[in-house]
Subunit: 404 residues, 2 copies
């Protein structure tokens, strides 16, 4: 099972290389299934075309358009394999078939019927599956969201019982942090599903979050590697003793969020439920939430301050609701801050090591980085810091936790 991303199939020449790689794997005795993305730039071209027609395109029709990118690459890849003397057959989402729910643009895979792929493999063919796409129960085309081809690959690998899922991309693996931000970043050889999940959700863009969830659920080993070299990449696998011994596996950052601070909310039992329920209803996904119960009680009862983050792109849309609900909760005001970043450390070893968070705060304090909010889970600590301090913070944490 191999999956190639957009840059790996960005030109006809690169598609030829993909074909050669598939044939080499087949010659080595493997049944080969390959999942391909759209040629790089193609999805954006198609979406731009749709946006030229209408500003708020219907999601169903957008998926019909967007899915053609992978459709073309799948057939071109099959042709390239044939041109190299191999046998190949392309499969679209509705042909495999990859059944999803009906949430256009962000569909979730429900089941995959591998029968046609098995047939093709039995005939000595390489099965080329269009990534990113599926079909719902009405036969409507759906897509899985940006990076969805990763998810297609892992899900097909799980459905076929493949020994591993190789994700070929334009980087040679998962790094301890973003090499563009920190020169000392190193490739990670092995990482657990849990750590990868945290890193992906905290800003590392190498794998789609959902693909890691599926890999974990079905125990599919995922190998993230470069399509431009033969070097081993990063294996994403079940946790074991070895992996647990590392306290911090990587440092992630995310510049995409804005911070909202609401002062003096009534400390009623359902205040938070009303506030965040209202945002969730409007499909605004809130990330970190920090609530501080105010020490002083005012005449109208106890009051609390609440801080949370949400995607910058949702801020304009969210403001009116926040003001409205804030008012109904008796808030004295709301403040917004866009020049923030979230830096996080992730590692399985945190479970059994104490003082990791304290060490993180100390490292940031030593660099004069002001921490504006903190959130933790079993295997990660995240801090909201000023945007301008991102690079310094990432580098200091990377060095401080011995990742260099």
């Amino acid at each position: 099972m191999q999956k190639f991303g957009g840059t790996s199939v960005g030109t006809v020449e690169r598609i030829r290389n993909v074909a050669k790689r598939c044939l080499a794997a087949q010659r080595a005795g493997n049944d080969v299934v390959v999942i391909v993305s759209a040629m790089s730039g193609e999805t954006n071209r198609l979406l731009a075309l749709a946006h030229e027609v209408t500003k708020i395109p219907d999601a169903r029709e957008m998926d019909v358009i967007a899915s053609t990118g992978e459709q073309v690459t799948a057939a071109l890849t099959a042709l390239a394999i044939q041109e190299e003397g191999g046998k190949a057959r392309s499969f679209l989402g509705h042909q495999v078939k990859i059944l999803t729910d009906g949430s256009f643009a962000k569909a979730r895979i429900k089941t995959i019927d591998g029968a046609k792929i098995f047939d093709a493999l039995k005939q000595g063919k390489i099965a080329v599956v269009a990534g990113f796409q599926g079909v719902d129960e009405n036969g409507d085309i759906t897509t899985l969201g940006r990076g969805g081809s990763d998810t297609s690959a892992v899900a097909v690998a799980a459905a076929l019982g493949a020994g591993a899922c190789e994700i070929y991309t334009d980087v040679d693996g998962v790094y301890t942090t973003d090499p563009n931000m920190c020169k000392a970043a190193k490739k990670i050889d092995r990482i657990s599903y849990d750590e990868m999940l945290e890193l992906a959700s905290l800003g590392a863009k190498v794998l789609q979050l959902r693909s890691v969830e599926i890999a974990m659920k079905h125990g599919v080993p995922v190998h993230v590697r470069s399509s431009f070299s033969d070097v081993e990449g990063t294996w994403v696998v079940k946790e074991d003793k070895d992996l647990e011994s590392i306290v911090v596996r990587g440092v992630a950052y995310d510049k995409g969020d804005a911070r909202v601070h609401i002062d003096g909310v009534e400390d009623a039992p359902d205040s938070m439920a009303r506030l965040f329920g209202a945002l969730a209803e409007r499909n605004i996904s809130v990330d970190m939430i920090v609530q501080t119960a105010a020490a002083a009680a005012s005449s109208t009862g106890k009051r609390a301050d609440v801080t949370f983050t949400l995607p910058k792109t949702d801020l304009a849309r969210a403001k009116p609701f926040i003001e409205e609900i804030g008012k109904s909760l008796g808030a004295t005001g709301a403040r917004y801050k866009e020049d923030i970043a979230k830096v996080s450390i992730v590692g399985l070893g945190m479970r059994s090591h104490s003082g990791v968070a304290a060490k993180m705060f100390r490292i940031l304090a030593d660099k004069n980085v002001h921490i504006q909010a903190i959130s933790t889970s079993e295997i990660k600590v995240s801090c909201i810091i000023p945007l301008a301090d991102t690079e310094a913070a990432v580098n200091a944490l990377h060095e401080g936790f011995g990742l260099g």
Copy 2:
């Protein structure tokens, strides 16, 4: 039922116009189904991409690629209708579904299930169907050949029992002859299926031949008209008294054929069957065939000369077979001529009028055009003439039969 060709949906602006036209038809009280082609140039771009990968692309994979052109236009058109305030839904070949045989690149429609389209219409939606494509019994995507969207349109119209099928194109109807060749050419208001079939097969490119066959079989009135104006175009309809009274409806020409002449073939009962059977086996479609039994009997028995035409593009491939079979039939030689053209006159009235062919030969003779071969059917006469005389011949026939 409306169908828009490639130039009619060539830009986002034009797709908007298509949307407006559909909505106007709906407001006028019609259930509207629209069939769209790929944006002009798109199919060629896709085929070029495939040819970059391999010189002889697998037909199945080519259809997967080529069908994306119509897929994108269908969704864009649905979006444009929505943007104008209407309701619309796109349908691909596998969604309608349009079931074809498995002949990739030239599939023939077997059945069309209109249920989903009727559902959409019942909900007040305009159904936008991707032309040119279908799906075979294995769920593989097929295409119907160049101009196949015409056939999609007529077939869907027949399946839905539509009152008429409007084919919007870049010309404003069917002409008495090619206006580029003859300034006196006039738009035909009404033409019978039979005449249209003959004109289409004799070189007029306005409608795909297969679409006329289906329209005739199911009695669907077809209206060929311009997408850039509101002028009435040409109605292709069942023949009636009015139509029969016209002796010659139009003049067609075709520069795509080459002439083959084989001398001294044995006049055995199966000679022709062997010759043309061998060519048919190799998928070379022969058009006009003229056989002249030689008057003089040689020592080896009676001999005949045979002349036929075939597409110039097939000539190089056909030559070796022709030489080989010719030899086995005792032929004394074969000659080839590429600088020829076929001019034809077509009209229902020929059935009841005698002397039409003789008049044609007289008109050509008066212009010193040398006729090299003749073939006739009930409603047409075709002559092979020198390529250089095409324009003069077309103009003389157009004037001579009073079409100007």
